[in-house]
């Protein structure tokens, strides 16, 4: 089908965008950054078009549901959310450094969806449990949250790398800066924004993710109330979403009450993202009501 063909191409476009962003970081030439940003935009445009085509195709096949109903479609939508959020952040912060860290996550999701032999890209009809208006709102809010946490995670990685620069500078100093500096790993780190900016970005994307995750859990509970007769059943996915929520709640309290900043927040963002991955993919290997088919 045409939408899966476009989506396979989108995978390569995202890889190209990642490569351009990476070249920018190593070569310290902004034109690579502009190229990367343009490529990422083309990719997102194609990606959006494919999602719409897939939606239309499902109506033509007489099923008529949003493309959010199985693992393939959720991975595709996860990648879409990541790219959409990233491009908004890039536009707001006017910094392209984050692209090197976020775009590969979107690429990996797309590649996993396209290449894994266990994931079917066919449009499937909705089984009775999924025939609910809450499906769309639940999935969209959850993946908005996951995407925001992905940005926080990528920014956390940047903050940890940036921390290496400060340690390196105290050892052997001034050669890193200045116009004649050779391309080196230190250039790469130099292009990462200042720790204060990273800290703010980690915080803001975590807040965004936390609010969306909260709404996602709530819409899921409402749905479960209608579908399973209980708003909470300690199903592994529910439980892991709660664990994820608690980890980010601890992170936000640590910042507000105990004043955590910088590297500690970066580590928390990474731990939180590991929980997100378990909630999203890991629990499929545990028994429960919620697993993808």
């Amino acid at each position: 089908m045409i939408n899966t063909v476009i989506l396979s191409w989108t995978t390569f476009i995202y890889f190209a965008a990642f490569a351009f962003y990476l070249v920018r970081m190593v070569s310290v030439r902004e034109r690579w950054g502009r190229l990367g940003a343009a490529t990422a935009r083309i990719g997102l445009f194609a990606h959006t078009a494919a999602l719409i085509l897939r939606w239309v195709a499902s109506y033509q096949m007489g099923m008529g549901h949003a493309p959010l109903s199985n693992l393939y479609e959720s991975l595709i939508f996860f990648a879409w959310s990541i790219m959409a959020l990233y491009l908004i952040v890039e536009w707001r912060t006017k910094s392209r450094s984050l692209g090197t860290f976020v775009v590969p996550v979107a690429f990996l999701c797309m590649a996993f969806a396209s290449l894994s032999p266990n994931i079917s890209s066919r449009i499937q009809p909705l089984i009775p449990a999924l025939q609910s208006n809450w499906l769309t709102s639940h999935v969209i809010t959850c993946f908005m949250g996951y995407a925001a946490f992905t940005v926080a995670f990528a920014t956390g990685l940047m903050a940890l790398l940036k921390g290496m620069e400060r340690r390196a500078r105290t050892g052997d100093g001034s050669a890193i800066y200045g116009k004649n500096a050779n391309p080196s790993p230190m250039n790469f780190i130099r292009l990462i924004p200042a720790p204060g900016i990273l800290d703010e970005l980690i915080y803001q994307s975590t807040v965004l993710g936390f609010v969306f995750l909260t709404i996602g859990i709530m819409t899921g509970s409402i749905w479960a109330h209608y579908a399973w007769g209980a708003y909470w059943s300690w199903d592994p996915k529910e439980t892991w979403s709660l664990i994820t929520w608690l980890v980010y709640a601890v992170m936000l309290h640590a910042r507000h009450v105990r004043g955590w900043r910088g590297q500690r927040m970066a580590v928390m963002a990474i731990i939180g993202f590991i929980c997100v991955l378990i909630t999203y993919l890991g629990v499929n290997y545990l028994p429960g009501l919620h697993s993808y088919q």
């Binding site: 009809p125 089984i127 009775p128 025939q131 209608y226 007769g229 300690w234 608690l246 507000h256």
Partner: protein, 460 residues
Amino acid sequence: MSKKNPVRTFFASVKLAIVLLVLISMASILGTLIPQQEAAGPFINRLSPSVADILRGLQLFNIFHSPWFIILLALLALNLVVCSLNRVPLAWTRFRQKSEPDRDDLFETIPPDQVVVKETSLSEETDRLEKLLGKKDRVGRKDMDDRSYLYVEKGAYSYFGVYCVHLSILVMMAGVIIGSFLGFEGYMDITEGESSAVVALQGGRGAKNLDFAIRCDRFFIDFYENGAPKTYRSDLTFLKAGSTVQSSSVLVNHPASFAGMRFYQASYGMIPTGDPVMTVALDDKKIKDVQVAVGMEFEIPEKKAKVEMTRVEENLMGMGPAVKLSIQSPAGHIQFWVFQAIEQIMQANPGILEQVTLFNPGLFEPYVFSLGQAGSRYYTGLQVTRDPGVPVVAAGAALMMIGLMIVFFCSHRQIWIRLDTRGEKTRISITGKSNRDAVGLNREIRKLLDAVILNRESAT
């Protein structure tokens, strides 16, 4: 301040909250790794009995309902209450505290770009700015001979946002407790065309008699072309004292409500029903169905045979229902038994038909007799729940969203403006404070400055 109670200090600490959250998370992780409740059975069988006993003793097969997990949650609730009670007075003080408009100390260190000098008079400029800041009763103003002060604040309520979230968690916990004491969950299987008024409670906790009955008029399944299920639907009628009160269709995702309970489509199945029937088959093809009764006679014209049921037994020799046939035909007279459970009997006793020809239902060749029931009907499996805690939990969730919006997207902003005469001119200085959002405050000050410079009527 009075001396602090050490117990209270302990329960108010954020450290305790973090430790509890970590413990609850770790217990929850265990709860997803170890199969819980009904799912634990096969897992327990694979463990050695002593290990299984230890795990059972620690209630690791039902973590989320175990006393120690509930104690952790209760401690968290207590921690939330004490910690919030300790801090709310400070938030209240900050909320009530109205700043004086004339705070000269705040203007001592302001950056030069937050100062504008204009040609207009002091009073004219003050009036205009006062209007610009908002409704009159919300703007503080103080006029002196050669200078005026304006003060405005908004979002002072934002100090309560976090307690709103804490309270929402307590409200949700209250909803869960209400549900667990006043609610129930159970199941009922109702065969098509029949009615039931008994709910089997979950976890083998007995049965609950309803003061109304539910009749399943029809159960319906529809499939997609690829064989996947498309729809499960039960058409139900709720009866009180024999008369119809309500008719509802129950589908997955669309439960029915009646008498404060909800009925969910949970499962379905087939059961054999109806009167016993004797079936005569030739080459695996059914040629005749005959009702079972002692003395019942029928004919097989092709063989000019007359068949009579001479005995009907509910349970012959512990092998289930059976009917004894006596067949008169030109070939002679034979008698044999037809068992309903002949398949199982043959499996349990291989070769029995050869040894005991009296038990062979194919003795009158080439016909084969079998005993069955008139048909099978669907039954629908309904999940029945009543949870009066749901509205409370929903209210808690709404409160949590309001709280989160306040915590993350609202802030307390205070803005002070000092206007003083500089000869013929007026000097306007603007400064402010915010508890959380320095960037937003700065943006607002810039907007005000722009409006002052351009003589705009509104700051946006």
